[in-house]
Symmetry: C2
Subunit: 366 residues, 2 copies
């Protein structure tokens, strides 16, 4: 299947939905890919099952705080240079490019790189969503080393990190990214086709396209996009829970670009001003949603903030006072909920001091 | 010439003198080299002129704030691993090891590495003293690229920086060093023998040994070590100015370990409490000495703080309230004073807003 211009809006929107606030602005992501596609480049998507077991798959991403990524655009040639460097380090040619995470930019940048290098893009990623840190991938959880991490900026500065574990790789790569101006292009988790098949979250790109299409179809047919999303997730295999966690407006926002991330808290109130407010904590991504002491959702389940009328996903850097939004929670696939996975991205990893409770088991009355 | 146990005290003391506060504690530097020499290792010093023009020379250093280096010791095996990595990157074997700077640790660590790898150590360095930043070397000033910079910690984490210029290499390597715990072993400025001969400050190691010996001889012969130092520097070829800039005690010290450096200001007062105090600014090294508005010395000339009686060099991290000290200024060789050199380490690079004035042209009345 090709990723073509006509699918681009749906793809970028759906990727931003899965990005849960992070992974980059879909407008930026759309622009960079549009430019490639309009100039005649072809983006060939392949299912992980199509990979040869010993093919070299190179994941590509834009690293940085979302608040920086809207000012400093992702750089396709720097990302290509990062892939070339990875090939040099491994002494092998890449057979395919893969996203590390979903998100408005981090789903589209690998497609840009695929187009520039004439390589297929694997329809999968390492999170099935976006997470703030490099070690938070199914690749890492299930045994693919993150190192070497190649970090490139647009001035051709290059840093290669080989760390003894992926948390240390994140620790070292993050400051390099900060000193490169808060964003950098990276390649990491180089893996063979067998690992890409068995240790990824499959079909994230096609899922993003479908989510985007569900939203745009509902809009054009004047149906409720939130109902359409719930119906869509109920129809996936396996079925996924999708529910509205809150309906209200942004009344307070504390957002700092610090330690290389966009970190903060968002307070939402019901439109009528009644009831208790919702508090959403974020580190690039929306990671927990609480009303008072009641936790309504935590990572790894998706917490998506969508425009109240159009269901357009709102990213962390796009949050504004007064926005009218609905907060949607979506359950994640079983591969994201194993004990070893939750040890890496469960609630405690993001400062919520409780065990993970699957979102479908939490009662919500909006 | 071999660097043997009997020369070790003089060598470490003299290296600390040239370190002007930075480059590591000479006690630590002495211990790590003593351990090697006592276990039978041999450290062979060679003059730069003995190098083959196409031999690969690998400079080695311990990077970090002096305040950290006394808690986290330099790691010989990590430094050896950094040399091995450099060899791998260049596809060639190192023929010799070289210091980047003088200093209690940074002059002795290359000798430890030479002993461990059975390689000669070049009697030269890139500063003829210590400076706080990686780009501040004669290598860089006269055209040897600092990159690749290999950074290793004792846990076997490894980062390789290839920057477009040496200031950027410093910028990126420094934060990696900070995240590795404030110190790391590095190799950088790999060069051929021809460059090592023509773009280094020659005979820094033998100079350190001589300075150390001058101090210890004066002590054992009950002569004034400060007079002995002045006489010694007057006798070198070319003759160097060495004079006392201040005689007094430490009355105030502001020292922060920040941005990966030990940064601060030291205030000295005359023993009798009269006259104006001297203020010395430091960033790892002592970089400027002022009395009121009068600047008595700035980098690149050496500003050394020595015990008032024994002339034992005091490092930045060794400064204490109440210490009685003499501040000594020493002129540096012409290679350190060219316009291109002063553009890298002149007074303005360290926040002193004036052109460089050679220390011998400044009148001092102590």
């Amino acid at each position: 299947m090709d990723l073509t211009l006509d699918k681009l809006h749906d793809f970028a929107r759906g990727a931003a939905f899965l990005g849960t606030g992070g992974g980059g602005d879909p407008y930026v992501g759309r622009l960079i890919l549009q430019q490639q596609l309009r100039s005649g480049a072809r983006v060939k998507l392949i299912d992980p099952s199509e990979l040869d077991d010993d093919a070299l798959v190179v994941p590509v991403a834009n690293m940085g705080a979302p608040t920086v990524l809207i000012e400093r655009f992702p750089n396709g040639p720097a990302a290509v240079a990062a892939v070339r460097k990875m090939e040099e380090l491994l002494g092998r040619k890449a057979a395919a490019i893969m996203p590390i995470e979903a998100g408005g930019v981090n789903a589209t940048l690998p497609a840009v790189v695929g187009a520039l290098m004439d390589l297929p893009v694997v329809d999968a990623d390492g999170m099935g969503r976006a997470f703030p840190e490099l070690q938070m991938t199914t690749f890492s959880v299930y045994g693919v080393p993150g190192s070497p991490v190649v970090i490139k900026d647009e001035h051709d500065n290059e840093v290669v990190v080989k760390a003894v574990d992926d948390e240390t790789a994140e620790w070292l790569a993050r400051v390099v990214c900060i000193r490169m101006g808060g964003k950098a292009e990276i390649t990491l988790y180089p893996m063979n086709g067998h690992d890409a098949k068995t240790k990824s979250v499959p079909r994230t790109i096609s899922l993003a396209m479908e989510i985007g299409r569900v939203i745009s179809d509902a809009r054009s047919e004047q149906r409720d996009p939130f109902e359409a999303l719930a119906a869509f997730f109920a129809s996936t295999e396996p079925a996924r829970c999708c529910k509205i966690l809150f309906d209200g407006k942004v009344v307070d926002l504390l957002r700092e670009t610090t330690r290389g991330f966009a970190i903060g808290r968002l307070i939402l109130q019901r439109i009528d001003g009644g009831g208790e407010p919702m508090e959403i904590a974020f580190q690039n991504e929306f990671l927990s949603a609480q009303i008072g002491e009641a936790v309504l959702a935590t990572a790894p389940d998706l917490i998506c903030i969508l425009d109240r009328e159009t269901a357009e996903p709102i990213t962390t850097e796009g949050l504004r006072y007064g926005q009218r939004v609905k907060v949607v929670g979506v359950s994640v696939p079983p591969v994201m909920r194993t004990p070893e996975a939750l040890a890496v991205w469960g609630p405690r990893k993001f400062g919520v001091d409780r065990d993970y409770v699957p979102i479908e088991e939490i009662d919500v009355a909006v």
